[in-house]
Symmetry: C2
Subunit: 395 residues, 2 copies
């Protein structure tokens, strides 16, 4: 019998319990006959009607001091106390498996170092892309590659909103309301629509790809709240779709990382990832372009990823996936990136005059796609036109 | 220094040597400073101008008897002598990494058993999907799932042909000629266009998903040689694309496995995998639908997958991924599958009379999509109409 504890019995935590119950036979087969037992569940609420209701405790020390608990599954969300509990568990020689992107993005390097020191594992497959296998494939299957770039649609809520703005012509506000109505967006949607969730996830993928902790606070982050229905329609005129991307890339040994809406060419595989789906495209110097696609959230998909980590810990409790401390010199200035841009202004002649390209009219605004240039230079030009804006274009 | 030997210095074998040379620094970093050395290359040809030309031997025993060689990379292709050399290497306590789908599909269970017995690894990530991570994600990342179904576009040559028949309206013969001209198809394209390559690959994925060796000879196999430009156009009229799929699914504990052209709904993610790309959709009972996409062949992508296995062996030489001996009762009769079908006949009234559905005319032939029924029942009906044919429809 292998005993685990679950911290936080919300959507993901209860999904983990469900997968363990539902797939008990096939899990036991994978574990050569051993059975998994959820010995403790930490939550402030009671669950008197749940079959595991008698396992619920409000006291983390019960778990910390139980030597039979080898693996702690952290599905609390938020930085505190999730980080503190994870740290204590690792220090006590327990492996920790998490779906908590906030903790991994912010405290990953520290927790990974403690895990290595203690000879246990800190695994986080579920922190990016829900059930989509991405952490392990990047780490293990693409291990012989230099990772040239990662482009990800990493947030289902914003992808749903942008999909509806494209397919139905809705405004951002209307699409957000619908997403809230369907339960895809929270009542306070800031973390999603302002890009923070994507930003944490691309920080994790960039840390994994480049070996240095990438601080999400140092990754330039823009959300989709300023994107208008006219922008989406204009992008379509130029044969692009607008997607909120987390991007990172190797630029001469430095790391370019950004979260922002991008125009993605319609024929790019990532342009066709719609609704609440996530997709992550990874470019390696040997493998070329590979893409991973699936549901980026939800109880059972996320639980599937958590359980993959749990099984991995059981097979090899010293499993290490991860990165070292932050190398402060690794960041490249995002404004030095050379891109094309979609520019928008109130008057066609302003665009023509400043960028030397013809603008098209879409719903009373004028749009054009610029030639290649640095973001820094572009911003200076845009600032010279009253009320002008821009969106980056993915090559 | 970790010494490996490469068997077969063709496209993939030389790609492996190229990746080791090109990414020497990052590989060494992954191996905590250890260096990889290609000590021997087995080939009947000489490579006097290659930097590793002095490593070439024509005698397998040189490799077998060299105790410094821990890992044998088998990239010869074909069953013999690849199988025999792999078996000898495993029996001698060396791990074997292969890209050879023919050997894995046919002899996998035996070689995996020898590897387990000897405490070494037999790994085969490169045997399916080229560089796309699929074997390890299915085995490891989806380990907590019951695999409900796998649908794969597993052969780039046939996918290129079907893409051109769709996009350009070409005949099968014209598209094949173009594929040969571009080097995507061999002069003798039978293994590709008759479905055998796909059949071997889906056998490997089915074996992995269901734990029993699935014999490719027992998987019903049809190629794309009978698909006409009119079929492709008719499918489009019904909002489908024709793709050559390897499919396997759990049907009440038995395994349904087939290789055949299928009508795939245009909105399905797998329908939009074009040209020489491969894509594999896996449905798990927890994760839902996830998809893996990338280049399914080529020197460097395939070498990327081979090297992932090599690194894995170095980290854990007892790594076991795989399946047991064939369970002869596991196969379900493919003709008992309940599907819809695209039927084609010379006269509209025949289709109307036999299937009770209206047919549409496309290039002088008449097409309709039937209601749900078993393949067995469908075949009886089709046989009652002179010259009628059918193609299966993916739900």
């Amino acid at each position: 019998m292998i005993n685990i504890a679950i911290l936080g019995f919300g959507v993901v935590g209860s999904g983990v319990a469900d997968v363990i119950a539902e797939n008990a036979d096939s899990l036991s087969q994978r574990l050569c006959g051993e059975k998994l037992n959820v010995k403790h569940i930490l939550d402030l609420r009671d669950f008197p009607d749940h079959p595991l209701g008698d396992r619920v405790t409000k006291d983390f020390d019960t778990i910390l001091n139980d030597e039979e608990v080898l693996i702690v599954v952290e599905t609390m969300g938020g930085s505190h106390p999730a980080y503190d509990f994870s740290k204590k568990a690792l220090e006590a020689g327990k492996s920790v498996v998490t779906s908590n992107k906030e903790v991994v993005a912010t405290f990953g390097a520290e927790l990974l170092a403690i895990a290595r020191e203690k000879g246990v594992s800190y695994l986080f497959e579920a922190s990016v892309g829900g059930g989509i296998p991405i952490i392990r494939p990047m780490w293990q299957c693409l291990a012989a590659n230099k990772i040239l770039a990662v482009d990800g649609i990493l947030n289902g809520t914003t992808n749903y909103i942008l999909t509806k703005m494209f397919a139905e012509g809705w405004s951002f506000e209307d699409a957000l309301s619908k997403a809230q109505e369907l339960g895809y967006a929270e009542r306070n949607p800031a973390a999603d629509v302002e890009g923070l969730d994507t930003c944490r996830k691309i920080s994790i993928l960039a840390s994994l790809a480049y070996g240095s902790a990438i601080d999400p606070k140092k990754v330039h982050c823009e959300g989709i709240t300023e994107i208008t229905a006219a922008d989406v329609a204009a992008a379509e005129e130029f044969d692009y779709r607008i997607k909120l991307l987390g991007r990172c890339a190797d630029v001469n040994g430095k790391v370019y990382a950004i979260t922002a809406p991008f125009l993605v060419p319609t024929e790019a595989s990532i342009a066709n990832i719609d609704d609440v789906y996530n997709g992550i495209s990874v470019m390696g110097n040997a493998v070329g372009d590979v893409m991973f696609y699936g549901r980026g959230a939800g109880a059972l998909p996320t639980a599937s990823a958590v359980m993959a980590d749990v099984l991995d810990v059981i097979r090899d409790c010293r499993k290490t996936i991860g990165w070292g401390p932050e190398n402060p010199d690794i960041y490249c200035d995002y404004e030095s990136a050379v891109l094309r841009f979609l520019v928008c202004a109130d008057k066609a002649e302003d665009i023509n005059h400043v960028f030397g390209v013809e603008a098209i009219e879409v719903r009373g605004k004028f749009y054009a796609i610029t030639g290649l240039g640095t973001e820094k230079a572009l911003k200076e030009k845009v600032a010279s036109i009253d009320g002008a804006r821009f969106i980056r274009v993915m090559e």
